[in-house]
Amino acid sequence: MILTHFNAALLFSIFASTVFGITQREGARDQFRYGLYCFAMFMGGLLVAGWVMWALRH
């Protein structure tokens, strides 16, 4: 199975955020919000790192 870098990072973010959300907060609402926050941070970091690498290359 070969995934693209983006898809691999996307799946990683989804699963890690799910576990972080459930384990680090109490109450369904807070868990959901924290999971979304972690997912946004993962994806934001991914996009920023991607553009930084692009800038370094060009």
């Binding site: 199975m1 070969i2 995934l3 870098h5 691999a8 799946l11 990683f12 699963f15 890690a16 799910t18 576990v19 972080f20 459930i22 384990t23 109490e26």
Partner: protein, 139 residues
């Protein structure tokens, strides 16, 4: 003048809960990811944790990730083994089937190795959460 002796009440020290569940839930949660929550009737949380850890571990194997064996060599290899062992039953089954001999032939194979390690580490967090629920620290 008579002195009145006032006896201070010593606070009752609460012993940590050492019920069977506080031992059983983390143990079963390590062996079967998410099961520590399921046996405590946290159905949705348990299923989500189980799905996340199991899918991540299996994807790692499908990406030809490497499963670390017990070793005393390079520090990163030792830490890789510590991460992998967190997946509990998944790790035992994988070793029993002699799978996870991935050779890093492409970039996603390295992702696979990391997926397997992180699945184990996430299961460690899930086990700690099951323990906290068992002792009543978390609802």
């Amino acid at each position: 003048m008579p002195e009145t002796i006032t006896r201070k009440e010593t606070p009752v020290t609460s012993k940590p809960a050492t019920s069977n569940m506080s031992v059983f839930a983390p143990a079963i949660g390590w062996l079967i990811p998410g099961a520590g929550h399921l046996i405590q009737k946290r159905w949705i949380r348990g299923l989500l944790l189980m799905g996340s850890v199991v899918i991540m571990f299996v994807l790692g194997l499908l990406m030809q990730g490497r499963v670390y064996r017990p070793n005393g060599g390079d520090i990163l290899d030792i830490l890789g083994f510590v991460g992998d062992i967190g997946a509990g039953g998944l790790y035992i089954v994988t070793r029993a089937l002699d799978a996870g001999h991935g050779i890093v032939a492409h970039a996603t194979a390295d992702y696979g190795t990391k997926y397997i390690i992180v699945a184990g580490l996430l299961n460690f967090i899930s086990v700690a959460d099951a323990y906290h629920i068992a002792i009543g620290k978390k609802s």
